[in-house]
Every structure is written in C-alpha cells, then in structure tokens.
C-alpha cells in the first residue's frame, strides 16, 4: 500500500479527503444530526461541491442522474434514520438499473447502536437487498479503506450502488489518514476478458446466420462500448434493436436500427426477435418486459449468444447456447478481430422480411388531431433540440412515448428508471444530469402524476440555477394505469384520475421559475422553440394532451413477444 500522506484526521475530515481523492466534484445531500461533523468539514473546503436537495429521495435520484449522464460515480450524503429511509427508493432505483453510486449515511454513535436510539435504523439491514454492497464502519481506522472499497465495488464488474454507514463517533475519532491507491479483495474479482473458445464459437454462429439479430441493452451504455457496438453492426450488416435501457448506444436514425423492443417495442423489432435464427444479446438481461412469456419465446428455436459480465444474468429467464462472461468492450474487441477476416452470409431476404414488418408503421398516430397528441410533442421536442438533449423521464405512458419518438443518437442521453419504474425520478435525475453537464440542454419528460412525486426539487433547481426544461404531458390521468384498466379491467378507472390538479404554471412561478400552458397542437412547436432559447431559465411546459391516448404496440402481461396489440388506426 502506497502512502500519499500521513497525518491525524477526524473521521469527518477523512470522508471529505476520500471524496477529493476519488475526484468527486459534487455531492447531493441533506444534513442532520448524525452527519453534522461531515457537513462541518464540507463547509471548510471548496473542492467538493454540495447540492442541497429538498428530500433525500431527490438526493439519491440526482446522484443517479449525475452518474447516468456522465459515467462518473454519483455520490449522496444523508443523515441516519429518516434521512436514510427517504433515500431508499432512490437507492433501489439505481440498483435495478446497475448505476454506480456511493451513498454515505450517518448512523447513531457506535455505543448507541441497537438501543433504539434517536433516529436509529438498521441501515445496513434495510438497504442490503437493494445495494451491490454495504458497510458499517466500526473503527475510524477502517474508514479510508472502506471508502476506497466502496468506490471500487460501485464501479467495477456489474456496477451498482454501495452504501457506507458511518456512526457519529467515528466522524469525530481521529487516526492517521492514508488513502490507499489500490485495493485488492480475494472475494471480489470481476472478470474482463471473455473465454476465447466461446467467442470463437459465437463468431462462427454469427457468420453462419441467415436471419441474425443483435439485441443490446443497458450494459453497452454502462460500459461505454457504443463505438464497438456500432462497428459490429456496421461490419456485419445485421439488424439491431435496443432495450429501454440501451437506447442511444446505437444511433436511432440509422437504417439498421429496428427501434426499441419489448412490451412497447416496435412490431419489427419484436417480430425479428422471434423469427431470427441467431440472436446475440449484449448487456441485456431478457427482462420480462422485453421478451414477454419465455415459453412463447422458446417456441421458435434460435441459437442464442449472451455477453454479460454478471453470470447470474445469463440463462436466468431464457436458456442460452453460448454464454460469454466478460466485459463488453473487451469481448467485442475480440469479436471484431475475428470477424474482420471473414464474411457473413447474404441476408437480403431477411432484410426484405424485416422491411415488410416495418411497413406496418406501428408507431403511427393521428397527426390531424385537434387535441395535442403526446407523440407529437415528443417528435417536436426531438426536432427542436436536434436530438442532442439529455432527456430524463418519469414513469408512465410519457416515458414510453419518449423512448419511441425521441431518436437518441448518443448513449447517456436517455435517462430513465427502467427496472424499478420509479415515478418521481425525472426531475431530480435531470438536476444530476445538469450538474454533470453544465451548459448542456436537459429536459425532463414527465406526467402530471409523476412530477408531483418529487416536485419540491423545483426549489433546488432555483437555488442552483439549473435551467431544466420540464415537458409535462398532462393527460389528467395516471395514463399508464388507465390504459391497463381500459384493456384489462373493463374500463373501470379505479383511482387513476388525477383530480384537483394544481395550476402548474402558477406553481412553477411560485418557485421562481416560469411556466406556460399549451393546449393547441399549433402552439406546440413555437412554445418549444421559445423555451429552448432560454438557456438560463427553468421553464415548465404544461401540455394538455389527449386523455384517451394509449401506448402502442403493447404486449399484454404474460403474453408472447409477437402477441402485440396494435393501434386501432392500423
């Protein structure tokens, strides 16, 4: 272990020094008794900036959005008890989508642990199922190493949130500070290279494929391997689809891109998934919202290659033929080397078939509508921002329309909660994205129900002058819930109508921002153009949209990937 400096520091100072050593430039947090000494040390320095949120859920989501939009670790800091429990939703959200985050939580003093002390909770126990790993620091001497391990574990292998719980007395106690430069753990050694024999087998399958299909997911975004993916697709000439989490890893406007697949994926992507003869899955986990019923999926046998760094993702829901455990960029580099010397089969007839499926135009909607169609707003949002904005989203219909209609050209531009599906994610995640990308265009696509779940963060946006553009697709319904009730519960709209909505324009103004209500299709584009010219202001755009609109295509729960409900218009 190399020593960079030796001096006696308090635990609180050590925490800050560790963050500095890790190059952390911003921490999202909220103070309280157990973390007062840490806040005191934050105050005394200016390398690590602190963003004061208005609710700890916001802190976790903001750290998450910061990470997703930048590939850096997101850090958040919360106090013991309610501070931590408020953050749990945000931690679980990051866990489900494998986002590298470090959460520092205060804890009651070591001697009080287990005595139902004021603001005590079993943080390690509560968060265990929703973190990659967590630690309770029991001795200030372990603090620096624990912090080092936390960052190491969060960022390597399959990334994820790691929590460090620090009792208050540990933040006061002193010890010599040495920040370890390296860390080695005999119990934790994620692989990098894929098995050469398996890779050879996989490449052979690809070369022999007559109806090949590439299916890539969040893993490509997380591992920054978009360039290798594009090269693979271009060199092979194969069709490609992305999961909700993988959007942007392959440019959406390219003709080899079939759109998103899955529950609300395109007709062509889902048909090609079912009818291909060789499928290669890259950093995608065969989620139930993606392949639907696995028994139905298995009805058309195909050879499946699966690249994932986490062996537990492989053959979990779908049995695969060629598993490759490894880090995507390393594995794809090996693929590309092997493919270079060889030729793939002529797949013109497969492309012809795909062209026919594409001909269905499954995302068609009524463009002449007198009421604003949500799809129209997103198409215009794409045009006005040149496809280059960071788009965060909440959860619901608006999320699916954003995924379908905003054409993401680059990775890390599409930031949404896929695995946990957390309403309230959008606004704080946008704060994180804006903090990580000052000067960039950041928009939050949301719904009137979702936005109310973390609305208080409008105040944070004011304090830190975060010029986020809020695109509220206001259908006065929990639209996604209403859609399921329409399809599967006999139109009984039980508790899905959002009554007593606030005047969002006034509300934005109340927080010191500006807002605009748009209720005519003709006003959509001008409003967007005006808004995105305002580089310094947060603008809340409240679009009154068609209340009855549904997201199509849709695979009903439990159905097969090709058993899609298509729009009535088709």
């Amino acid at each position: 272990m190399d020593r960079i400096k030796t001096e006696e520091l308090s635990g609180a100072e050590i925490v800050i020094r560790c963050l500095q050593a890790e190059g952390v430039d911003v921490v999202f947090g909220y103070p309280g008794g157990a973390v007062l000494w840490i806040y005191d040390e934050l105050f005394k320095q200016d390398k690590v900036r602190h963003v004061l949120v208005r609710h700890e859920q916001g802190a976790a989501h903001a750290a998450d959005g910061y990470s997703r939009s930048s590939h850096k670790v997101g850090v958040c800091l919360v106090t013991s008890g309610p501070g931590l429990t408020n953050a749990v939703t945000g931690i679980a959200t990051a866990y489900m989508d494998s986002i590298p985050m470090v959460i520092i939580s205060g804890q009651v003093p070591t001697h009080a642990i287990g005595e139902d002390a004021f603001q005590e909770c079993d943080t390690v126990g509560i968060t265990r199922p929703c973190v990659k790993h967590n630690f309770l620091v029991r001795d200030v001497k372990d603090l620096a190493m624990t912090m080092k391990k936390a960052f190491h574990i969060a960022t390597t292998g399959r990334p994820g949130p790691v929590l460090v719980d620090i009792p208050k007395d540990i933040t006061v106690n002193k010890c010599e500070f040495v920040y370890p430069e390296t860390v080695s753990m005999r119990s934790y050694n994620p692989v990098k290279k894929g098995h050469a024999g398996q890779i050879k087998k996989a490449v052979q399958l690809l070369l022999e494929a007559e109806r090949p299909m590439i299916y890539s997911g969040g893993g490509v975004v997380l591992s920054n391997s978009s360039a290798q993916l594009i090269e693979l697709v271009k060199r092979t000439g194969f069709p490609i689809t992305n999961t909700l989490m993988g959007l942007g890893a392959y440019p959406a406007t390219d003709e080899q891109f079939l759109g998103m697949l899955g529950m609300h994926g395109t007709y062509e992507a889902n048909m090609a998934m079912q009818h291909c003869d060789v499928l290669i899955a890259i950093g995608a986990r065969f989620d139930d919202r993606v392949i639907g019923n696995p028994a139905h999926f298995a009805q058309n046998p195909r050879k499946i290659i699966h690249i994932d760094i986490d062996p537990s993702s492989i053959s979990k829901r779908v049995k695969v033929d060629v598993p490759i455990v490894g880090n995507i960029p390393d594995v794809l580099d090996d693929f590309l080397k092997l493919i270079k010397e060889s030729k793939t089969k002529n797949i013109a007839s497969w492309w012809k078939q795909i062209g026919e499926w594409r001909g269905k135009d499954c995302l068609k909607y009524d463009r002449k509508s007198k009421i604003i169609k949500p799809q129209f707003v997103l198409e215009k949002l794409y045009e006005v921002t040149g496809g280059d904005a960071f788009i965060t989203s909440d959860v619901g219909q608006h999320q699916m329309w954003a995924a379908q209609f905003y054409k993401f050209e680059k990775p890390r531009r599409w930031i949404n909660s896929g695995g946990l599906g957390t309403m309230g994610f959008g606004l704080p995640a946008a704060m994180g994205a804006q903090m990580a990308n000052p000067g960039a265009t950041v928009a939050c696509v949301t719904g009137e129900s979702s936005i109310q779940m973390c609305l208080q963060e409008l105040s944070t946006c004011k304090q830190y002058r975060l010029p986020i553009k809020i695109i509220n697709l206001n259908n006065k319904y929990m639209g996604m819930v209403r859609q399921w009730q329409q399809f599967f519960h006999g139109n009984r709209y039980s508790e899905s109508y959002m009554d007593a909505l606030p005047d969002f324009v006034k509300l934005a103004e109340g927080y010191g921002h500006s807002g605009l209500l748009i209720d005519k299709p003709a006003d959509v584009e001008p409003a967007l153009r005006e808004t995105f010219k305002r580089k310094k202001d947060l603008v809340f755009l409240d679009f009154l949209t068609d209340q009855a609109e549904n997201v199509y295509p849709m695979i009903p729960g439990g159905k097969g990937i090709t058993e899609m409900i298509l729009s009535e218009d088709l």
Partner: protein
C-alpha cells in the same frame, strides 16, 4: 434434488445475513445451514443444504458468487463427498428404558454423554439419513429433545476447497 453447497466467506459481521437474505429474497429453499470459522480466522466455511432442480441450484451458486463477501462456492453434490451431521438427543431413560436405549445407541455408534436419574443424552454423528433412522428406531414416546446441527460437507480425496 437435494444439493449440498459449500461456501467460503469472509468472516465479517453481516455476511451470514447477506447469504440467508439472498435465499429468502429470491425464494430459494434452505434445508439447513451451518457456519463456523476455518483454520484461517478471517474466513468462515458455510454449508447449505438446498433442494431444487439443477437449474435452480445453478442460479443459487451464481447468486452466491455474486455476493461481495463470498470467496468461493462449490456444489459438493457434483462429485464424491462426505457429509456429516451431529445430533444431540435427550431421551427418557428410567430404569425400565435404560438398557434398550443404550443398546440402540451402540448399534448406531452413538455415545451417551450425559446421564441423570431419568434421562440419557446421546451424541450421534452421521449423514442425515442415519440420524433420521436413529430417531425412528427409538421408542417415540421417550424422545424429550433433539438438536441437530445440519449437514457439514467436504469433498473426497484431492477435492479441496480453499483459497
């Protein structure tokens, strides 16, 4: 099928709950679980007996390996192995029953380790089936208390699990 899984795990606070949590959170079954430190005090060895299809057991070993504190995992049932469990059983042993109980214990190579006016406590090791058989062989109405450790397992011959 019944599988016996051996786990080497860092001897850290919370490691045991992390492992047992994983089983309950994912709905995997635990028939028995034993744990104690090894010759290297920084590491514990755990034996879990679980019942499930090969597919489920593969998922279990993958999930175990994924836990940061887990150093190594082996499904002992995949090859030759030895399995032992310890049972302490207290039975009523008044003057009438004493001789029978003692004889039965001898047949099963058990040892009487505690005696009182009216009870015998017997120590018995073996695989689970042998312990079951002993319980069956006793007059059921004489059994006062049983304590079983759950199975511990080790590979045969050169099959060694260590870091």
């Amino acid at each position: 099928m019944r599988h016996i899984i051996s786990i080497l795990v860092e001897n850290e606070a919370g490691a045991l709950s992390r492992i047992s949590n994983m089983f309950s959170a994912r709905g995997y079954n635990i028939e028995s679980l034993t744990v104690a430190p090894t010759e290297d005090a920084s590491m514990s060895r755990m034996t879990v007996v679980s019942v499930g299809s090969d597919e489920i057991i593969e998922k279990i070993t993958k999930q175990l390996n994924k836990l940061v504190e887990v150093v190594k995992v082996v499904d002992l049932s995949e090859a030759e192995h030895i399995e032992r469990e310890l049972m302490l059983i207290k039975v009523r042993a008044g003057v009438k029953e004493r001789e029978d109980v003692k004889r039965m214990a001898d047949i099963f190579r058990g040892r009487v380790i505690d005696v009182s006016d009216s009870t015998y406590t017997i120590e018995l090791t073996g695989d689970g089936a042998k312990l079951d058989a002993f319980i069956q062989a006793l007059d059921q109405s004489t059994i006062l208390e049983t304590v079983r450790t759950g199975a511990s397992g080790i590979g045969r011959g050169n099959r060694i699990l260590r870091v």
